[in-house]
Amino acid sequence: MGQKIKIDPVTRIEGHMAIEVEIEGGKVKEAISSGTMARGFEALLIGRDPRDASYVTSRFCGVCFSVHQLCSARAQDMAFGAKVPWGGELIRNLVMGAEYIYDHPLHFYQLSALDFIDIMAVANYKGKDKDLLAVKEKILHLVKVKDTYPFTPRYKPDEYCVRDPDIVIHAIKHYIDALKMHAKARNMGAIWGGRTPHYMNIIVGGVTSYPDVNQVLRFRSMLDEQKKFIEEVYIPDVIAFAEGPLFPLAKAGVGGGHRNYLACGDFPLDPERKKLVFPGGVIVNFDPKNFKVLPFDQAKITESVKAAWYKERDPVHPYDGEQVFHLEKKGAYTFIKAPRYDGMAFEVGPLARMLIAKNKKVFDFINKGAKPGVVLRHYARAIETKLIVDACYNWLDQLLVEMTKPGFKIHDTDHFEPPKEGMGYGFLEAPRGMLGHWIRIKDKKIQNYQAVVPSTWNISPRDEKGIRGQCEQALIGVPVPDPKNPINVVRVIRSFDPCIACAVHIVNGNFSLERFIIA
């Protein structure tokens, strides 16, 4: 019998999550992840005008804010029979590009970096750089007046924490710079999105924002600044950490999990929608020397409610999903369902996308000895940010040509009225991974609505067969030499960039729920 510890709340993620792990012989033997907040969006949508769905589902999450809006619009596009004009598609791509450019660096600096540096090392900075000395002074002042929130309290830095004063002070400076950069990246999205978080311009059939040339130029000039930061600061930082002090973690493959990867593929580069920024596919039991990428088929998705507080039923495809609460359910411990593909648990997100794309930079790092896990996940996230930046330039060029053609269109106005009956699904590669929305329409109103979101895949609980979700599996075997300092546990969780508010589906019910606590 090992020692059980509970981390509740897990901070620096989106949403409310608790994790319980059992530690034996300095390693995690068992892990249970739990989503601890619910609202009940899908139930709210039933009976509404279908077009409301893109606005309402955007509020699943304010960090990855507009992914649901776009995914929902795509599901409606199918159900309404709408054909999005290429001009509308380009603007959808561009605002989503801005979302990526803001979201990935934010995850590395604001949500993860504090787990990898010993912030107090700045005191030993001996350099002469004026900017860095200002950072040092700021931190030392906070220490002096005993007010170092929100950087402290924290888990004790361990052997993987960077203590080199030069690297740490740069990281803190970049932490502060990144705050500014991500605010600017969001302003870039607002050029067409209206404002952020929660864009306003994406609707069924296309977008509402008729562009002008100056907006294209403005977006491009802001993109130039982001590109510089991403290429000269963010990517080099991630690579320096991954190939330097964190390499032992990378080599040990800490936080690898099932090694099954899933991507729907996304972001068309041409009007025929043939070429994509991210190809789709499925990898089962990844082995870098020998793996196959199989085609992705949405019909193979099911959701299990075995370990979640919902009425017992066999796993079903999301079209037939429901949310009926059952909070006295024995063995249930979360508000998150367990999506499976072909009956297996999968990881979605940057690592999945880059492995499926056989990205050269990521495979070079694998050939150096990195195994799938915490570090490779951060690495893949940084690498793909650059792919999105490049694609944004391509889309801007195309938009400029497209919008100057006679009869330029951004919206399919002929299909804006809800159909009497219809069904449709939309898929999207969100920053955190593959996202799917399914809608059924009856009498021009929403009859059923389901979303299966990236964090539902990554942070799912066990299913009928007892197969753990990817994050739970990824925690097994993770070294925790000191149970009072489970820093590796939060590193693994945060490497998935979880978004728990998104992951929870909920409905009504009167219940008495015993909090799931292990003694």
């Binding site: 709340p9 304010g62 607002a190 508010a501």
Partner: protein, 320 residues
Amino acid sequence: MRDFEKELELYGVTRRDFLKYCAVLAASLGLSQYDVRRRLAYALESKKPPVIWLEGQDCAGCTISFTGLTDPPVASILLDKISLRYHETIMAAAGQMAEDVLHETAKKGGHVLIVEGSIPEADDRFCYVGGKSFKKIVEECAEKAVAIIATGACAAYGGIPKDTPSKGVGVGKIVKGKTVINLPTCPVHPDHLLGTVVYFLTTGKVPELDEIGRPKIYFGQSIHDNCRRRAHFDAGRFLTDWNDPNQKEYCLIERGCKGPAAKSDCAIRRWNDGINFCIDCGAPCVGCSEPGFYSEMSPIYTAESETSRKIYAMKEKGLL
């Protein structure tokens, strides 16, 4: 300030005495006693005001909106202006360590409490943080707070979660007998939040509020009254096709715009450093600054909602 204190001690004046003198002096000058004392106390202890930021049934959108400030940059606010003791999305600590800080700060009091997200009225167990019901956490943190700010539509009036099975409600419904400053809109406008916090820290007072707890300075006028498209409304020109460049600036009432029924300064202040706002990207105002958001505003993209019907009735009477 420290040296100044030492100097005073040489004259046998204690810190407490000094604060008392200041208070008397302030009162005689007609300044707020409380404020001068408080600000001096901060100065003497070189302390930044402690802030607790709670997230309940939220989407973190208000947090993200707040971190979108560029002038002043959010980093300077976090590091120089306030002492952010607890914020789940930002703080380094996790688990018990995070909870300990929260409870210590709340027990000590004197903090500014910011709440993001609603509180589930249907059943406490829809939202648990650190093994405690969110409702209890809000009550505990509100008890000794010097100011309570409900940030965003959810924390103000329940927002979208109000119409879900969990029946989310705003902070004002949970915290009784204390002033709650409501800053609705979905998400909160970063200027509204920063301005309110700074106003309070500067004056020690709550800004003037309207009858539903919103600062009048931000929520005094309807969006419609300040909208650039107002002339098109008056002339009866309404947008029906987003593809037509000639209609690009037309009024969006027929596309379900709730501007006449929504009070907020969005149309003047705009969003994201003034780059844009909902109506300017061709989307209707959804009325997220109002207690009726979201169900009274639904459907969003056609003029068939309860709110749109009211707007049209007013239009008929020539009241808009």
